[in-house]
């Protein structure tokens, strides 16, 4: 009898504890208490080959949403908080499309964002367009995403034709500055929408610029051995090598090129894998002198950059990358539009997005001075920065070199790169 009562006491204690826990859990979620919440569907590659960058996007957006909610949410909607619903695309277009359908129909999201991979974003925006759900694209750069005549798609990052254009402007500026001649090029790029889009642009620009193209080589991003490709580059012996790579292949390619002592006058990469924070760590000295074009760099001279980067770094242990910044900015663009829309009606949000004229706030850590969308939904002012990876006493880092106005004070880029 006595034993039984002890058992009962324990039972009651456990129940009480569970009750308190569950109350604490409920109290911890203000979203439930709010009458209105803005639901944002975010499709990202959280597993699979692009998981590393997908995760960085997610961190940056989490941080932005946290800040926006902490500052009182969307005030014109009675302080509505933003809830982010993540779903994993695994970098697969069909998965992205299915997730968009689910987010719109089942979760009833008010805004969609994502999907990092251009190949996923492209078909997914069509789903959003069909339902009229506004879709904010932070980083997928394929031109065609904003050239479908869609009304609901808004892109923050510069499109890939601008990237290639700027790479060639940089190349000719470099030749002028150093009085060195570049006459032959090699193109090596991942065999996806993104890489092929870049290569198409390069071909036209090379013809216009009078360069001779020695090698035009797509490769599968899943390649497990880069030496055959590197041998091909070595035998072609170009003055300048242009690259588009995802992270794993960027690392492998850079290390393999160092092994085979492939040393063109310059290597110009296109962000993506080369801008991934794990790239610098994984290639070490092998990445020295590489040029890379990106949306943003930690040494951009804009107010707030240092503080926001510091906050991100202390949280996640690496610097913000250009893509993460676009993802971060996208959240502030969204919050600004919601504020002006004063409604959760998709049409009202879309119209507000179309009228975006953002010139202040945390979104202005961008390397340019305003965010406005043209009639296709492309951010008109998106600009790019060229960096060189070098060690100037503090380990390998990314140093802004172009446009000249953005060049880090006291740094002179090395071109043609010295042979070690």
């Amino acid at each position: 009898m006595k034993e039984r009562s002890i058992g009962r006491k324990v039972y009651v204690c456990v129940l009480a504890f569970a009750f308190v826990c569950s109350m604490a859990f409920l109290a911890d979620r203000p979203a439930l208490a709010q009458p209105k919440a803005v639901k944002v569907g975010n499709i990202l590659p959280l597993s699979g080959p692009s998981a590393s960058v997908g995760q960085q996007n997610r961190y940056a957006q989490d941080m932005a949403i946290e800040e926006i909610n902490a500052a009182g949410g969307i005030k014109s909607l009675g302080g509505a908080k933003i809830t982010m619903l993540y779903s994993d695309s695994e970098s697969k277009p069909e998965k992205g499309v299915a997730e968009a359908e689910r987010l719109i129909n089942t979760e009833k999201v008010h805004v969609l964002t994502g999907c990092w991979n251009s190949a996923v974003t492209y078909p997914t925006t069509a789903v959003a367009e069909r339902y009229g759900t506004p879709f904010i694209v932070p980083v997928s750069v394929a031109d065609k995403i904003t050239e479908q005549g869609f009304k609901t798609v808004f892109r923050i990052a510069a499109k890939d034709s601008w990237w290639t254009r700027d790479q060639f402007v940089f190349l000719s500026d470099l030749q002028k500055e150093f009085n060195a001649k570049v006459s032959t090029l090699a193109f090596v790029y991942e065999n996806g929408d993104w890489g092929k889009g870049f290569a198409g642009g390069w071909k036209k620009l090379a013809e216009k610029g009078g360069y001779k193209v020695l090698l035009d080589e797509p490769y599968p991003s899943t390649a497990t051995d880069m030496s055959p490709l590197v041998q091909k580059i070595k035998r072609a012996n170009p003055d300048v090598l242009l690259l588009v790579s995802n992270a794993a292949d960027a690392i492998l390619l850079t290390n393999t090129m160092a092994e085979y002592k492939v040393k063109p006058k310059a290597i110009i990469a296109s962000g993506g894998g080369h801008a991934d924070p794990s790239f610098l760590k994984a290639v070490g000295k092998n990445g020295q002198y590489l040029f890379d074009i990106v949306e943003w760099e930690t040494d951009v001279n804009k107010p707030g950059v240092k503080e926001i980067n510091q906050k991100f770094k202390s949280k996640y242990d690496y610097n913000l990358a250009g893509e993460s910044v676009d993802a971060y900015i996208a959240m502030y663009v969204m919050a600004d539009a919601l504020e002006r829309a004063k409604s959760l009606d998709p049409k009202a949000i879309r119209d507000a997005l179309a009228k975006t004229k953002l010139t202040k706030g945390p979104a202005m850590i961008a390397s340019y001075d305003a965010i406005e969308f043209d009639e296709t939904g492309q951010n008109k002012y998106a600009a790019l920065v060229m960096v060189q990876i070098n060690d100037i006493g503090k380990g390998m880092e990314r140093i802004s070199v172009w446009p000249k106005g953005a060049r880090r004070a006291g740094y002179k880029p090395l071109f043609p790169v010295p042979v070690r």
Partner: protein, 295 residues
């Protein structure tokens, strides 16, 4: 002509490593008659074990084998014993138990995502190790030293497994079970123990492959998938269950991948590999070096 020789050597070295990644697959299939879809994940686990062993202890990557082989062997042994065996028992009347294949697929997802949760999606590689980036320069020819080590490891592992299966009592028991599991059981061979050991050997082989890859390849949670598909092609090409077939099949693929791109775009070589794969399936379904019957 220099070029071809250089590419041929690289292809053979890399191919032997591919063969090594597929070796475990072929051993497990030969005995259990199960296609182990989790094999890539086992390779990934092996790479992580090797990565941490080398990074934390600062050992020469190949000294890490002392740790990796036993860890991976027991990992595989108990994986089979605890996770796969019960399903096997439920399906013991079937020659090729299909449910087990589904279980291994589940294992693949669980292992990959567990690593993703624990270690994050970053790409890691060992920065300071005596093999990293080392090249032999003979004339104008470059030969990668870590790949040379990998090649030797692959050949030695294949020989060791072959010797074990041919010459030891346990090896004979394994071969007997693979020929006819019921007859073997009747002769007093403990069928499930044999399965555990075969699975352990397969997993240890994946671990050795992990060690050979770590000095020049990135370690990340989905790395297994890249080698997995290749592994299946190699195993079918060489003959399911054949040990020499796995190594030779790997070399064929390595050579195509290495020499091919010098005459065409690199993406086309994948096409050639798959075309060869189909051709072998049509002409010689038991694989190039497979026997018509099991061991």
């Amino acid at each position: 002509m220099w070029f071809i020789a250089e590419d041929l050597i690289n292809g053979i070295l890399m191919g032997a490593i591919y063969g090594l990644t597929a070796l475990g697959l072929t051993v497990i299939f030969g005995v259990l008659k199960v296609i182990n879809f989790a094999h890539g994940s086992l390779l990934m686990v092996g790479m992580f074990v090797a990565y941490w062993a080398v990074t934390l202890s600062g050992l020469h990557p190949y000294l890490a084998l002392i740790l990796v082989i036993p860890i991976m062997f027991f990992f595989g042994y108990y994986l089979q014993d605890i996770v796969i065996k019960p399903i096997f028992k439920a399906e013991k009347d079937v020659r090729e138990p299909i449910t087990v294949i589904i279980v291994t697929t589940g294992l693949w997802y669980i292992l990959d995502n567990l690593t993703l949760l624990i270690f994050g999606p970053q790409y890691r590689n060992i920065q300071d190790n005596p093999l990293r980036g080392k090249m032999l320069e003979i004339g104008g020819m470059f030969i990668s030293v870590p790949k040379l080590w990998g090649f030797s490891a692959a050949i030695l592992t294949a020989l060791a497994i072959y010797w074990f299966l041919q010459r030891t009592r346990m090896g004979r028991a394994i071969r007997a079970t693979s020929l006819d599991r019921d007859a073997a059981s009747l002769m007093g061979i403990k069928q499930y123990k044999v399965y555990n050991i075969a699975f352990g050997i397969g997993t240890a082989a994946a671990g050795i492959a992990g060690v050979t890859l770590v000095p020049f390849y990135n370690v990340f949670p989905s790395v297994g998938v890249l080698f997995d598909i290749k592994g299946f092609i190699i195993v079918v090409l060489g003959g399911l269950g054949s040990i020499s077939g796995a190594i030779l099949g790997g070399m064929i693929i390595g050579v195509i991948e290495s020499v091919g791109p010098q005459f065409m775009t690199a993406t086309w070589t994948e096409g050639i590999v798959y075309a060869l794969f189909l051709l072998v399936l049509f002409v010689k379904p038991s694989g190039l070096f497979g026997v018509r019957y099991d061991w």
